[in-house]
């Protein structure tokens, strides 16, 4: 279905906007928020594209990303809390 492609284009634009926050963000937590948003959007995009290409197996990648993307966030959050070192 073509609608999934169009939705994906818009989600991609939303992703670019969140990359803008990565550029602008004055502090590191702001940037982390940008990347976190990007994570969620990419998961949405992967699911949508999986339906658009009509392949089931592509959705596995979305699961992997949904499960693992927050590890990066947590590592940086822990560093900011002073828990590493």
């Amino acid at each position: 279905m073509m609608a999934f492609f169009y939705a994906m284009v818009l989600v991609g634009i939303a992703g670019l906007i969140s990359v803008l926050r990565l550029i602008l963000g004055p502090t590191v937590p702001d940037r982390v928020v940008g990347v976190d948003t990007l994570n969620t959007l990419v998961v949405a995009g992967m699911v949508l594209l999986g339906a658009a290409y009509d392949r089931t197996i592509y959705i596995d990648i979305a699961i992997v990303y949904a499960l693992l993307s927050y590890i990066g966030t947590l590592v940086i959050a822990k560093y900011l809390q002073g828990g590493l070192a």
């Binding site: 279905m1 609608a3 999934f4 939705a7 818009l10 989600v11 634009i13 939303a14 992703g15 906007i17 969140s18 803008l20 926050r21 602008l24 502090t27 590191v28 937590p29 702001d30 982390v32 928020v33 940008g34 976190d36 948003t37 969620t40 959007l41 998961v43 949405a44 699911v47 949508l48 999986g50 339906a51 089931t56 959705i59 596995d60 979305a62 699961i63 949904a66 499960l67 993307s69 927050y70 966030t73 947590l74 940086i76 959050a77 822990k78 560093y79 900011l80 809390q81 002073g82």
Partner: protein, 123 residues
Amino acid sequence: MNYVETLIYIFLGISVAFNLLGSFALLRFPDVYTRLHGATKCTTFGTIFAVFAVVTHALYQLHRTGDSKYLQMALHSFIALIALLLTNPTGAHAIAKAAHLSGVKPVRAVVDAYEEKLGGGSE
């Protein structure tokens, strides 16, 4: 266009609208905490609807063709949704706590109870 496709279009519309809204919230709000509200939550909501659209599509195709790969598509999308719902708020919470502990104060806050607690603890 039958009603199932209409439903899919509605879901996709809501999904895209909220995703874009979340991204705009990221630009519009003044500090980390309010951005977190806009960003991670609105996009999560948008993603939920994207998954709903895909699940609806898959179930409809399953009904039409009886191919088991569409069942898998629905289930896997559902698991992706569960994973997202488990991990995303945890990440948001971690960022908020880290931001507060690293010294980013909420802008225009009328009250900051956590600051009071931390201040009371250290002095």
